[in-house]
Symmetry: D2
Subunit: 254 residues, 4 copies
């Protein structure tokens, strides 16, 4: 059987006068785009323009809600009550649906952003509150979860459609959590190295920890970062590496 | 033929810790609610709660977008480029659709708020940009326009579904514009007086200016204000007056 | 020796179109006002108006910075890096100084708001970062700390001017922390009861826990809440009770 | 007599995760920096860092308040009531004073930003409201005005300290207004051309319109833009041109 995999990246993270990331270049490489929804980044103009580009290039569109925290880019943990958070997810997803409809595109998936995503890798109840909220707006939405975390548990418990994600540029601990950014080797900045390990993990159907340990995982999509200097280069190397290894790079099926 | 008319009011204008208006009382009287969408007022919790109440009481739900100006409650005129404004309308309408879907309700109409609404009574191109944007998200949406203004011209030019609105508590000039708030008699604060003139205008099918002049108008809905001290009292008086005169008070048909 | 004590309340918590609290009534009762600085509540108009009123009534003015979180009223804990938080405190204090100068008033003290204050009762390093930031703007500022918490430790470690605060309407545990709001008796809503225990604590120079245990504390000021239904009534009762017991109610000395 | 002139540029226009402009490079060339105050751009971290750099390089620091409009970068005209605008200027100036004090620097001047500045070149009353507000916070502040506009009239009427500014990269009409950006030649992108005309105007003590007409003006400072591709190159060319012509480039005296 031929393996296939999706490549995703966060996009639409510009705001007003401020640009961030090279979305145009990334959209030539990835197959799914997680579009910021205006709470931590993105504005209606940016959303419309990014979705129109994604549509033109056949890239799958996802809503990428985060905390209501523009100054912190959604990167600070906030103790927002889950019921309020649920409504904030509904609001952002709805806004994304509106923008997508206006450019004749479709929102296929939802992926949480930043600190909210991190908190949901540890707290299944919180992840469930967010995902359930999204499904209350679009019942057959696909949830993109970080594989082998509480995010995945929440999606499984809800019985919804979901795809599992691993990171191209982060080293893993033996329990499938990410190596602390402050430790050496935690972040992979070399494009070839990132590509090689992604190929290895996709072929193995497993997360391969820094120790070499294999953790079986449903790997449907690879997360590529969009806001670093090496972003586009790593994205291209990962795609080229996968294709060279005979892996089909395509949007996940919904 | 029995006349019928809709009663509408702005709602969901609380924000975070701050409450505004007595939505619960108004929802017992009006037949359509214009729900703020988070840019000038309202937040996801407020939107969800207000829409759920409206749904329970059979009140029609509308999106009520305004300028991105929380500090000014959308009451300051802003020279936002029409294309950006169009995207802001799409975004807010989409958010309203998301919140409504999550509580099992439907967004039937759109009405512009505050300074944006005022500018669109004078500028048909601006009104058209906003309405066209809304229709790009929901093609069969009903647009609520201030009767006999550039808003109405824009809706007519677009050939979309629209309903015409007059004000219960504002005096009119002979050209169907509102009497300047700073002039005596511009704002009607007496509930019985407001009720009597609404009945007269609905029965006449015309705006009746302060001078007595009649301006034929398509009067589908009466705007009741929600944020004044007299709001609930005037709303009840207008409804009672209409019913006593044999006018059916019901949601406009879509 | 005659005892004296200051009464403080949070104020200036309205925002734009939204009003909160009865500042005018409270300003007749308290001797110090903690003015919100625009991040969690308050806007420049509100700040100017509240400070002008406080000045006219001889009420001491304090800056009351909180998290940059208008939607959550600064009540959600946020993991903002201390260096960023320090700059946010400097900014808010500076803004308060500017508003005060423009109305011919002086900012005498600083008190942290909401979740930020709560976090600083537990985390001396965080409290120190905030206080040090404030003192870098106004070296001789008085810091208002919640007595017998990490806030007090931080102020002591910095060797700055500080005053200790207890709550009029909250029950205490034996370790001087507040009884969890969800437990019965945690919040005192009866004005006479609140007054009686404040008098007792001020005369004892100690926090008196729900168990009756006494914890010696430097009690310079009593915190009265401004945003509850009973706020003004409790404030008046506490002031009357203190005066009846021979305690002088006056602004703390700086 | 040796002529001297100041060079100013807008700075500190980054926000949170978003960078804008090459402040570090510009600070080596200009003698005054107009620091955004958080309403249209800038945040407390950015303000502190930019002011610290300016202080280290001996560059004069100014507060640069704008409309409360982050999404529009303060570039949209807004009909904010003058009294509210005055308080917003006080707030932003106060915040700038606080940040400056904390890094041991001084705020020497104030310059309005974007659409607010444009409106004040046409509306003396509005300019006066803003400047008077600033002077109510810092009575001996220097106001930086766009020469030969209503801004200058307002400063003269107030009798305050002020310096006059011309633009390095914009063509002038015969009435000293700027040529409409949409017309050919309105914006000068060639560094040498910009430098040559600045030298000519400074030496003439006059604005030289596109037609060649001379309008006498008090030229104390040259505005260099910070947010264009050519910004740093033009700034360096203007400085070099002035120095080659024997003009001393230094901070304006206060």
């Amino acid at each position: 059987m031929t393996r296939s995999v999706d490549l995703n990246a966060d996009m639409g993270e510009s705001f007003g006068a401020w640009s961030l990331g090279d979305d145009t270049a990334l959209l030539d490489t990835v197959t799914s785009a997680n579009i910021a929804c205006g709470f931590h980044a993105g504005d209606p103009d940016v959303m419309a323009a990014t979705m129109a580009q994604a549509r033109d290039k056949g890239v799958g569109i996802g809503a990428h809600p985060g905390f209501r925290d523009l100054a912190g880019f959604g990167r600070y943990r906030m103790q927002v009550p889950p019921a309020t958070l649920a409504n904030e997810v509904r609001y952002q997803l709805g806004a994304a649906l509106g923008m997508a409809a206006s450019v004749g595109a479709t929102v296929r998936h939802l992926k949480l952003h930043g600190a909210l995503a991190n908190m949901c890798t540890e707290d299944e109840a919180l992840a469930k509150a967010c995902y359930e909220a999204a499904l209350s707006v679009v019942p057959d939405l696909t949830i993109m979860v970080i594989a082998a975390t509480a995010q995945q548990c929440a999606a499984e418990a809800l019985g919804c459609k979901w795809v599992g994600e691993i990171f191209a540029d982060r080293a893993y601990n033996d329990d499938a959590t990410l190596v602390d950014r402050r430790l050496p080797g935690a972040v992979i900045r070399d494009a070839d190295q990132a590509a090689a390990r992604v190929v290895e993990m996709v072929q193995a159907g497993a997360i391969i920890a820094a120790s070499g340990k294999r953790i079986d995982a449903k790997i449907d999509t690879i997360c590529l970062h969009g806001d670093t200097a090496e972003a586009v280069e790593i994205a291209r190397a990962v795609r080229a590496g996968l294709e060279a290894a005979g892996v089909v790079v395509e949007r996940f099926a919904v």
